[in-house]
């Protein structure tokens, strides 16, 4: 706690500066609402219960998109690492699919999947897929030749070598990819909702913008950031558990 004290203090100083600037700088609250007004709005949204359904939608989109994207990314990474011929064949296409701006695919996904959660989940999954695939591919390739020779000497099957040597070795790298994916998942979910969402935190931002409620927009920023930090810390926790089991030490 003592270690976090300085950064907490910095936050208070920044908030005080912001508040002071809004009150005495003659700034319109439409342009920049003071933090006190933002907190009041946030409290009102929480108390009225209007916030929860949107939070639930965004959290669900994020979780589903992250889960699907991470699993498919992991599977693809394993497949490409294990079958180099397939990797040579598909890598350019996988790369191209990632260089297409995925948010620009949003309108197309709305045509394909309709409005609602599905297009956002697909966009989020597409975004989360890449870091997992790349880190899996890299991590699996990092197993040193001597340990591979050891498993060959011991007559290990390909599946055994994958499950008992390559994946445990690659796990720290894969977990780092998962942490990147978590951050991207939040962006994917919120921005996906900008395009086609009817509910969710991103859709709420668009709705607040249409009535120029900048204080609500800021309140939603706080909620989105909190959601992201919560998920990130959860993944860190899982990571620490997994690595304690599977890593050095």
């Amino acid at each position: 706690m003592t270690a976090r004290l300085p950064s907490l203090l910095l936050l208070l100083i920044l908030l005080a500066g912001w508040e002071g600037w809004c009150r005495f700088g003659g700034l319109s609250p439409l342009v920049l609402p003071p933090p006190s007004a933002v907190l009041v709005t946030l409290g009102g949204e929480i108390a009225s219960g209007r916030l929860w359904p949107h939070l639930a939608v965004t959290a669900a989109e994020m979780a589903l998109g992250l889960g699907i994207g991470a699993l498919v990314g992991l599977g693809t990474g394993i497949l490409l690492a294990e079958v180099p011929a397939l990797s040579r064949l598909l890598r350019p296409y996988v790369l191209a699919s990632q260089l297409v701006p995925k948010l620009a695919l949003g309108p197309l996904f709305i045509i394909w999947f309709g409005f609602g959660m599905t297009p956002t989940i697909v966009i989020t999954a597409l975004i989360c897929f890449f870091p997992l695939m790349e880190t899996t591919l890299t991590g699996l390739g990092e197993v040193d030749a001597a340990r591979r020779d050891l498993f060959r000497m011991l007559g290990a099957s390909r599946l055994q070598t994958l499950l008992r040597l390559k994946l445990p070795t690659a796990l720290p790298v894969i977990m780092a990819g998962l942490r990147v994916a978590v951050v991207l998942a939040l962006v994917g979910a919120v921005v996906g909702e900008f395009i086609g969402g009817r509910s969710g935190l991103g859709a709420s931002i668009i709705a607040a913008q249409s009535v120029m409620d900048s204080s609500l927009i800021f309140a939603l920023f706080i909620v989105i950031t909190a959601l992201g930090m919560l998920l990130y810390e959860t993944v860190r926790l899982v990571e620490r558990r997994v690595l304690r089991r599977f890593s050095k030490g």
Binding site: M153, Q160, K248
Partner: protein
Amino acid sequence: MPTDPLPTDPSAPGFVAVERASYRYQAGGPAVVDGVDWAIPRGEIHCLLGRSGCGKTTLLKLAAGLLLPSGGAIRIGGEALRGPSPRAGFVFQAPTLLDWLSALDNVLLPVSLKRRPTAADRAAARDLLARVGLADLAERRPRELSGGQRSRVAVARALIGAPDLLLLDEPFAALDALTREELQDDLLRLCALHGTTALFVTHDIGEAVYLGDCVAVMAGGRLTQARRIALPRPRLPALRYTPAFAAACRALREAMDGETGPASRRPAA
């Protein structure tokens, strides 16, 4: 004369028989191992001595079946190798332990890749760990062990399946001199226990003489010398300071100096 020059006799049926084996990384490229003949009778420890890059690790991998010869053949117990030999245990230059397993589970790895280890397997692994002085450290992970202790776990792992043949690739090269000597004694005791045949690659003359019944010198992909080491067994640490031991080392050193190619010959003093 403690060592007498004695080329390995191709007519003697060795347990391990290397017959005109050669290996090239690319077809048409230079031979890393160039027509090597070698026979290791059952129960003997042979050392392969040479400078870095002379092809000794490649020859060892050929004997393990990790590489297949471009020409010639390797036979173990009369059977030509077509892949990694299940009868051989291999100890690598680095201990190559799995960081996420305890010392005991690392020793049990060869078993657990084939079946679920039984209580008897665990007892055997603990026994091996005790024989290399790690009885109390069985539950530790590799990171919590010293370099010498990790090497001991690696040796125990290579011996868990009671292999007929033990192949070792400079396993103690990274250890300090005292630890290295202790491990050499451990290895001799373990090999004597089941009469294990061993092929030990090293660049350390003293190590080769102390361990080997026969020491072959390799240079430029060929065996240039093979000498029997006529020192008594069991070999005990005091042997290292006897004149006979020193003479054997000197003879090998002279053999190595005489056989280096012009490219690696030092300038005349």
